[in-house]
Structure formats: structure tokens, C-alpha cells
Symmetry: C2
Subunit: 673 residues, 2 copies
């Protein structure tokens, strides 16, 4: 028995999401549901791929009120609670138009459909990008360009790049193609073939624009490989092996997509555009002996990555990684014991491919208990005579991790739940820099702005930004919430009775409308919280959760510059909007070549009332990235993030009476295997 | 053999610092050296304690050039290299004066001594504080005050508080005493006996001022206990047990006070005022096959904690936790498997007590490998046809931890070394809030500024700040360094050839003098680095280390307010000074009742040249703390910190060719013990 337990914990266990049916109204669509959606849509449109392409298939969420009442009525493991109707939202490209289709899965029919008449194009599929990226390789002028450079066409790999919007009045679904040289190294992104502009029409699936403007050396392969198998000595540094032992197995329970751990329970979803989605997160209050709601739904809504090179080959590189490329589609399979520790559990995910058929991502999400050696709380008391008291509680947290690789960059996305009620949102940046070829080999030769750092011979790491915008529909012990700024203000003492001349105090300011809640962080000292104005603690404080910002950046592009119009949702680090089911994507539903007319910034300008309402907090983590040589040829992870922390949500420290595990005693071992 | 190894790693191993002799010029004084210093000084002064009291005894560091040349000439384990002369620096209180004494330990004599003639008093000893805190308990007026309140004097515990400086022209070494009630709970700090002012003269060791001004209820004991043994059900949340297994033992090597791990080596010292000190930290460069210098010496120089209540009982609470109370003296014994994980090694520390005799702190410092489940770097490449590449390197780091408990607060101080060259400096705040008694029981009753949050009945958590100022003598591959601001500036595009209207680029600005390097962070986008202007990488970038600020706060007190004059070293988040052996303590050598005439701010105003010189970077981590109910009765750890990260220090990613451990295979186990 004990032996069996021990064995269990060293087995990487994979929990498939393939279920014959869904169990929670927010469960992502199952493979069979994707197939059903596909059948219904193709039948309704009397079409087959690639005449009709599925650009997005996702759950059409039931109304929040329906989900909440289902939650209230459903008892754990009570399958009899009737689930709300199940619908899918589809964006399909058909006859050179974008169609928005709602499919009812129980009725097996299209409920509604309309043609998108506004600007912008839907998320790009992998298939259309693959087709586009292959086109140059059989395109005569490109083959000539490659030959002219003395390169071997069989070693050229091309990739697709979204084109942005620069004031054009007419847009077609196009992609730019940039090609790379892979002879001698798989690190293609650091070896661009510069000077060639290729534009592909995605509807026509052909090259529509081509120019070869100049020739510069392709950066050499030497020193660019990152595969262990290709490295030559000397090796190092050498790290030491370790493993976790959890004699009682993991501390979390997984029931379909619902996860419970310590005092937390939440639903772990997935969407092809957003990636992982955390829903209905609640924390058990031991004083009240009930779960209390914290977060209705949270996910990364958009991810803006503008590069800072205005020249012909680079100016358009101002990506919306979520809206253009699909942050969920870009999720890669996690490597057990490397991407996640040995004690992790894994989830697969499924999305609908361009042909509507389900595509499986194995080990798309991992969940693990993090034992980082942190201290939950402690105190040593030595003031009391003849008594020395030390109380320490070591901390453990639960991490939900995905990695989205969007071309060159790898984004490690963590949701970390702490028993103290804190939720830490982490993003780690790794992968390969966006590299530009250059004739320069030494900084001394450079007399102009090269828009980046010379990292190696012929290799510029181009300046850029990363802005991740989180959607955080906090429900602090109920839906109706307010956003409160607690401003720290200096008080000048004018009376004689105090030897002090000053102190600071707090002035609470409740945001009435959206304008009050657009905030550039760092300009003045202020604590930001979402509170429930209808509920208070025993001493009378309003229940709240506070935003502890971490890495913050303010955009440096002019606000009327085209990329910044599209990325205007980063103009402020914080927005608060009234909950609106249709306002999900900060960069707009049709982000590719969008014109910024459907962004969070635009919605916010309606200046709606947000006081004592169901509200959504939007927070943008920002990083200005000046590359350095350490980022080359592959980047050590750079961490950023923020924290949501209870503030007068609990009457007292919620982990005061935590039950700590007994020290783990090791089994008697006779040998190593 | 394998069994023995396994056994070893589950044994908490304690490495005593007691050595008959020192092995490194920066080794802290040994117990026998403290005894020797004591003997020499008492003999020279013909005095014995408490007529002469030792307020500070520490290593009088050899000149930096001497240490560096010793390092160069010393080979590992070569004990024959002659160590520089060994000296101690002593501040003693004798005849109501502060004496600065330098003792030569080899010559066994006092080398120099002088009487301090400026403002301020030396660090307080535990003994004098203990004596002072006992005085009220036998002081008739205080006993009357206690009786008048209906309290039991045997349950009253008093504590000492530094008095600050508020423009007095004459100062005596005094402390204020505040008392607390411990009936029913050991959490004394949350149960202050308010309304009584007690001033003690430390030289006279008697009460010199007493007033009992008002009576308010002592907050009740209920709900304030934090000891597990005193908690009543319901308990929770329940956490899961885990242990580390390191079949090959720890990855670090300890040789006296020198630690080597992965690609790092450094000296781990200790000082009664500073706490842990990291010196001569170097990182092995696998390309150059040599250790390269990063940090000559780093430690917490001062810790300013001003409270924001200007009333009679509280206005003076503006502590300098390092200069007044000794951040090293305040280090507490770490609890194995709780304060530090099971795989930690522990060091004892010794300081000289008031009588000069060595005092031992058992398990004062721990060192452990942190396996937090982080990713060192990764990439998944799927653009290359018929090839799917995923390379991931899990991260491990080395943590050096101490906990200093200064009265109510517990400060967890981490130095984290990463194989990528990054050094993360973490501070965790836990322990008990500074609590003020109040007649209020509900927020509704409060019509005035109460200078804090009502946390429970009669309990105000008073607003305050924490400013930790780090001394960071970076030596980037050599002593002569410069401080460079890389400013990110928007460029407006006026030419027609780009569809963009703007981008940002970088403008490097080398600080010429100290004024150029006084920085309030967050006001403009800028990357700050210490670089070596005399050395460059192959592409020609200057070698550097960058400061990644984390938690930053700007003081809100008026700059001419007394506490802020003493705490003026927090006026800027960053200072750079030329290296000066005498400039160690940002708040002044005599911080207690100091008048701000010997602070980092004052030194910086000399506006010395700092370009291409041996320079010191000073960085202040700041937190404005508005208490919340979760912080009561004991505070879940709040984390802050910053990171030093190589920037063009290495030619490429220094962990590209890291040697990862083989997966740990579990031993064959037959049973649990």
C-alpha cells in the first residue's frame, strides 16, 4: 500500500479532457462538440473547407446569471443538475467574408449568423499561415533572390507576419512573409534573410507583392544552436538533481475541469484565442465555513508586441499575439519534469482547426504544488521574560501553467493560488529574440540608429515592448462591486502639539464612471482595490481585493500612431468596465488589421457608470525590452507579473489556523534502481 | 554507500562558524576574537562592564585593495597565503561618551581610539534595552497607572523604542518605553497599554520622565494568539506534505565562509549591525574559463520605518532598524524545515554582547537550493517542416536566508543567485503590525483621522513605511566602473518613407558626478546599469549589470520634517557614490538620535566624480503599508525586492550549455519508518 502510494507519485499522470459530455457550463468544447459544430456549419453553408474556413470556434458562454444560478443549485458530484444550453461561437471565412455564427449544440442548428461588416480580420489559422509560408519557396522571383545571395533554397524556412494597419482605407486579408536560413542551425529567427518584402493574400493564397531591395549578410549559424545535442564542450554550469516526494500524493483534486486545492476551488478552462481561463474561483473561509467568490473569470485578453524599427522591412511588426495568432492555439505541449516539476498533473486541450476538426494539444496545461521554500508567516517573540516563542508556517501554493510559443517568443503563463487568498499572475518571457540582419559587426561602425542592440556579428536584437492585458472579472463576495482608489496623501501639520511636521494618510475615492478608473500607475501613490460596497467586516471595512502591480510600462509611441491606435488598450495600466458579455478582447474581436475602433480604450470612452455594479478590472503588464547579449541565442526567462491580494476580505489572517503537513519521513530504502 | 548518501541528505546539517582561526580576510570575528577584543579594550580602559559597554564590535575590514590582492594570490585551499592583518572596530560607551576604538588582534593592542563628538548615539545593545524595559515594572507611578486600569502588573511586558530626533539641541541617550498586556495571549504588540509616556536614560538606567495622560481599553486577547497549540477548531486550510530528495546531496560546497555553487562563488559574512553580508561574488564564465567579479560587497545598510501617527504616544516612532537596533543582532534562529526547506544547510553567527563576550545565534543563516518549478529558458520550434523541437531547461537557484525580528516585525532577507548570472534580492515582511489602542469598535464611529485601519475592536493598525537601503559595491569585471542610464525616448518620425509616426530608441547617459545618479524611479523610462567602461564584448558593448527595480516607494513626508532629514537617504531610490571605506551606513554611524548630518544624502551632496571609478550602488526598496485585517493578528508574508541582472556582461546566454541533472530516480523502498 505504502509502496503503491510512492509509486504513484513518481508517475506523471495525464488527465485527458476528452469527455463524452461536459460537466460544467464553462467547460471548453469537447472534440465531439467540435465535430458537431463543423457538421452543422458546413451543412448550413453547403460548403466544405477550404471554401469555408473556421477561424475561431469557442464556447458561446451562457449568460453569467445562468452560470451563477447553475453553480448555486449544483451540488458537488450531483450530475442531475440540468446544465444550461450549450452553444458555440464560430467565426468562419466564406466567400471572402467573415461570418459570425452561433451554433446550438443541443438543437444541432445554427441559431444566428451574420456577416462582419466592420474593419479587421479574424484570428489566423495555422493552416493558412502554413500555406502562406510555403508560397515563396516555389515563387520564381524569390528563388532567384535566394540564389543571388548564394543561399540554398532547401535550407530556407519562411514564416508569416501580421501586417498591422497604417491608415489604408481598404484592407484585404494579407500576411507578410519573412524567410530565414536554417543551414547549420535550427535557430531560424536569429538568421533572417533581409531585404525582401513578400505579401501574400490569404483569400487568394498567392503572392501579391514582391520586392528584393537589398542584400546583407545572413548572420552566421555558429553559436546560435540551443539544442543540447548540438553543444560542444566546455559545458556548464552543472546543476544538481532533486525530486519531490509527496507520500500522500498531490494535495489537489481534479474533477473534470474543476480543481480544488487547500482552501481554493476554481474551474480551469481553455480557449483557442485566450489560452487558459480561470473561472468561478472561490476561497473557503474557515470562519464563515463557506466558499466565498473572488474571480468569475480571468484570462489574458490581448498581448501587444510592437517593435521599434520604422524601416520598410520592420515597421509593421506590431503584433497582437492573442487576436492575430491565438494565444491558446499557440500553446505548446509541456515537457514533464522540465516545463513543470515532477509533481505536476497535465491536461490536454482541444481547439477547432481550420477545417473544423478538433486538434489536440497534449499536456497543454499543467497544475502543480509549488514548494519554493517560502514562509507563509512567522514570528519570533523574545520580549516576554523566560519565554522564547517561534511560530513559522512554510508556504505552499498551487500553480496552473501554460506556455504559448508565438513564433520566436515563448511566454510562460502562471496562475498561482496561495492559501492566504492571494492570486499571483506571472508571465515569463523566453525563446528567441526578434532579430534583424545588419552589415555591422562592431558597435564602433554604427553611426546611425539601428533600432536595437548589436548582439553578435550581423545581428541586431530589435527594441520592442510586451504588453499583456489581463481580463479580471472579480466578483468580491458577489457581483456588485466598486473600484476604490486609496490615495496616500501628505498631511502638513500646522498645529504645535506634535513635534512632527508631516505624515501621510489615506483618502478613499470610489470610481463613479469608467473615466475615474483609467489609471497610469506610478504617477501618484495609490492602492487600487475592487471592493464590495454592500458587505463589510465586523469592524466595518468594505470587503476587497487589492491589485499589487508588478511590472508596469507606459507606451512610448505617439497616441495617434497607427500601432498605438490599435494598441490603445495599453494607454492606461488599469481600466474598469461594467461587465458586458461582448467585451472580451481588449484589442477587438477582429484584431488582425483592425483599426482600433473596437478596443477597451474605445469602450471605456463611453464612460459608463461602474459604481456598485458588476465590473471587470483590466490590468496590463508591460515590459520595454532593450535586448542584451545574454538574450542571445536564446533568452533566459525574464519574469513579470502582479498580484491580487485580499484586503479586508477576511476578518483576520486566513491562514492563521492552517493545518501544516507533518514532516515527511522518508521510506526505508535498500538500493537505487 | 548509496544508503549513506540518502541518509546524509535528510540530516539537517549545521556548520558551525567556530573556527580556531579565520580563513578569509572578510570572515566575521570569531568567538575567541571577541573575547580577545574584550580583554584588550577593558585592559586599555582599565574598566569593566557595565562601566564600559560594548555597543558595536565588528571586523575592521582590510582595505579593499588588500583583500583583492589576497584573493588574487590565494589559491583554493592554500592556507599558506598570508592573511592581511586582523583588526576589530569597536564602539564603546564609557563615561557617558561614545568611544571609537580600533583593536589590532595580532598585535593584541588598541591601535587608535577617539571620542565621538558629533550627534547621535551608537547601536543599542539588547542588555541595555532589557534593563530599560524592566524599569517601569518597579516604578511606583507606573504600577499605579496599571492598577488604575484594572490590569495585573505581572502580565505587563514593556519594550523599548528609539526616540528619534525632533530638533532638540541637546540629546541624551534615552529610550521610550511602551508596555503591553499579555494576559491570555502572547501577542503583546496587538495589546498596547496606551496613554502612558515613559522615558528612560540609558546612561543612568532610570526613568527620567513619566506621564499618564489618558485611559483607553486594552484590545482584548481573543483572536490574537498565533501559536498552533492555542488554536481552536475549525482548522484549515490543510496543506500537503512534501520533501526534497537530492540523491547526490546538495549542489553547493562550503569552505569556511566561502560558498561555491553551480557557476557562483562568494563569501558569506555576518555583522551585528548589517546582518548577512555577501562579498567577492564571482561567476564562472564558461567561454572565458574563469571566474569574473560581480559584487565586492553587498548588505542591507539601513532600514527606515516611519509610522504615520503624529500624536504624543506615536510621533517618535520613526525607526532606523539597522542603526538603532542592529539588523544582525536581531537575526533569529531559523527553524529547519519551516523557515528554510529540508535541504537547507545552516550557519551559526556570533556577535559581541554588551559585556564584550561572544553571543551565539544558532542557525542564524541558511543556504539552500531552490527548486521552485521555474523554467530557466525554453523554446518550441514548429516552423521547420517535419521537425518539432522543444528544448527546456528547468531552473534552480541558491538562496541565502536570514530572518531579523525587530520587535514586532519579522523581515525575511533572501539573496538568490541564479545560474543565468542574476542576483535577486528579496525581502519578506511578516510578524506583527504596530498596533495602537483606540476606543473605537466600528468604522462608523470614526469621525477623525485615526492614522490607520481599524482591524478589530479597539485595534488600529497604524500606517507606516518600510525602506530597506541596500549597499551594493558592484565590481563589474574590475573595480573601475560607471553608472549608465539608458533612457528610452520617443522619436517622432517626420520623414515620409515610413508608415509609422513614432518609435522609441535608447540614449545612453553616463553619470559624471553623484548628482547625475540620484534617481527617483518611475518618473521616466530608463534602464539603469553599472558598467565597466574599460571592457567590452566582441560586438563592442560595455560589460554591465542592470538594476531591475521591484517595489519602489517615494517618501511622502516633507523633506524638512525631522524623521525625513534622518531618513533622507530614501529621498531617492538610487544613489551612486565613489567607494569610500567609511561610507557604510546610509543613516549614519550614530543613527540613534542622529540628526541626519552623516547620511548617504549628505555624502552624495559632495557631488564627487563617479565616472570610471570604483563606485557603490545604493538602492532602496520601499513599501507604503496601509494595514488590512488579513495582517492581523499575524501578517501573511508580503514580498518585495529587486534584481541585478547581467546585461552584455556575457557574450551570450551564460546558461546555454548548462549541464542539467539526470532525472532523479527513486530508491527501492520497502516501508516507511
Amino acid at each position: 500500500m505504502k509502496l503503491a502510494l510512492l509509486f504513484l507519485i513518481f508517475t506523471v499522470f495525464s488527465l485527458s479532457t476528452i469527455a463524452s459530455t461536459y460537466e460544467h457550463p464553462l467547460d471548453p468544447l469537447t472534440p465531439s462538440e467540435f465535430n458537431l459544430v463543423r457538421t452543422i456549419v458546413l451543412k448550413a453553408y453547403k460548403a466544405s473547407p477550404p471554401k469555408l474556413t473556421f477561424q475561431y470556434i469557442g464556447l458561446d458562454e451562457p449568460d453569467k446569471s445562468i452560470v451563477l444560478s447553475w453553480l448555486l443549485s449544483s451540488k458537488p458530484n450531483n450530475k442531475s443538475t440540468k446544465l444550461p444550453r450549450r452553444r458555440a461561437f464560430v467565426i468562419a471565412r466564406f466567400n471572402k467574408q467573415s461570418h459570425e455564427i452561433i451554433v446550438d449544440l443541443s438543437k444541432r442548428s445554427v441559431v444566428s449568423s451574420k456577416v462582419h461588416s466592420g474593419h479587421g480580420f479574424p484570428m489566423l489559422t495555422f493552416d493558412e499561415q502554413d500555406v502562406a509560408a510555403e508560397l515563396p519557396l516555389s515563387y520564381k522571383p524569390f528563388i532567384d533572390s535566394v540564389n543571388k545571395r548564394g543561399l540554398n533554397i532547401s535550407q530556407v524556412v519562411c514564416s508569416t507576419f501580421s501586417v498591422g494597419w497604417y491608415g489604408e482605407t481598404k484592407s484585404k486579408p494579407t500576411q507578410k512573409i519573412q524567410c530565414f536560413y536554417t543551414e547549420g542551425s535550427v535557430n531560424l529567427y536569429v538568421r533572417p534573410v533581409e531585404g525582401i518584402t513578400i505579401v501574400v493574400d490569404l483569400d487568394e493564397r498567392k503572392v501579391v507583392e514582391y520586392s528584393d531591395r537589398f542584400k546583407i549578410p545572413v548572420p552566421k549559424a555558429e553559436g546560435t544552436e540551443y539544442r543540447a545535442s548540438k553543444q560542444k564542450p566546455p559545458f556548464g554550469p552543472t546543476l544538481n538533481g532533486a525530486a519531490f516526494v509527496q507520500p500522500n500524493g498531490p494535495g489537489f483534486k481534479i474533477n473534470g475541469h474543476s480543481i480544488s486545492w487547500a482552501n481554493w476551488e476554481f474551474h480551469l478552462g481553455y480557449d483557442v484565442r485566450a489560452g487558459s481561463m480561470i473561472s468561478v474561483a472561490s476561497i473557503f473561509d474557515i470562519q464563515q465555513q463557506r466558499y466565498r467568490r473572488v474571480l468569475y473569470r480571468g484570462y489574458i485578453s490581448e498581448f501587444f508586441v510592437p517593435y521599434m524599427d520604422p524601416t520598410a522591412d520592420w515597421f509593421f511588426k506590431t503584433y497582437l499575439d492573442s487576436g492575430e495568432f491565438g494565444f491558446g492555439q499557440s500553446i505548446v505541449s509541456l515537457v514533464p519534469s522540465a516545463d513543470c516539476p515532477t509533481n505536476a498533473a497535465f491536461f490536454d486541450a482541444h481547439y477547432g482547426g481550420e477545417d473544423g476538426k478538433p486538434v489536440k494539444i497534449t499536456n497543454a496545461i499543467c497544475v502543480f504544488e509549488k514548494y519554493a521554500g517560502d514562509i507563509m508567516w512567522r514570528h519570533t517573540e523574545s520580549e516576554i521574560p523566560n519565554e522564547e516563542i517561534t511560530e513559522v508556517r512554510p508556504d505552499v501554493s498551487l500553480v496552473v501553467r501554460t506556455v504559448s510559443t508565438v513564433g520566436n517568443y515563448d511566454y510562460i503563463i502562471d496562475w498561482e493560488f496561495k492559501p492566504s487568498g492571494s492570486i499571483k499572475l506571472g508571465v515569463g518571457l523566453s525563446g528567441i529574440l526578434g532579430i534583424k540582419g545588419t552589415p555591422y559587426t562592431h558597435v564602433n561602425q554604427i553611426k546611425e540608429d539601428v533600432f536595437g542592440t548589436l548582439l553578435a556579428e550581423n545581428t541586431i536584437g530589435v527594441h520592442h515592448d510586451h504588453y499583456l492585458t489581463y481580463y479580471l472579472d472579480l466578483d468580491i463576495d458577489g457581483e456588485d462591486n466598486s473600484f476604490v482608489k486609496t490615495n496616500l496623501e501628505t498631511v502638513k501639520i500646522t498645529y504645535e502639539s506634535s513635534p512632527r511636521k508631516s505624515y501621510w494618510t489615506v483618502v478613499h475615492e470610489t470610481a463613479k464612471t469608467e473615466a475615474d478608473a483609467r489609471i497610469k500607475l506610478g504617477l501618484k501613490p495609490s492602492e487600487l482595490a475592487v471592493i464590495n460596497p454592500n458587505k463589510e467586516t465586523k469592524p466595518g471595512n468594505k470587503l476587497g481585493y487589492r491589485l499589487f502591480p508588478g511590472t508596469v510600462a507606459h507606451p512610448l509611441l505617439l497616441s495617434d500612431d497607427y500601432p498605438q491606435i490599435r494598441g490603445a488598450f495599453t494607454n492606461y495600466n488599469v481600466f474598469v468596465t461594467p461587465y458586458n458579455k461582448s467585451e472580451k478582447w481588449a484589442g477587438g474581436l477582429y484584431a488582425d488589421q483592425g483599426r482600433g475602433d473596437d478596443t477597451l480604450m474605445v469602450w471605456s470612452l463611453r464612460n459608463r457608470s461602474i459604481e456598485n455594479k458588476d465590473i471587470v478590472l483590466w490590468h496590463t503588464v508591460g515590459i520595454h525590452h532593450v535586448p542584451c547579449q545574454e538574450d542571445f541565442p536564446i533568452m533566459p526567462t525574464l519574469n513579470a507579473g502582479f498580484e491580487l491580494r485580499p484586503t479586508n476580505f477576511f476578518e483576520t489572517n486566513p491562514v492563521l489556523k492552517t493545518t501544516q503537513p507533518k514532516p515527511v519521513r522518508m521510506p526505508k530504502c535498500t538500493s537505487q534502481p
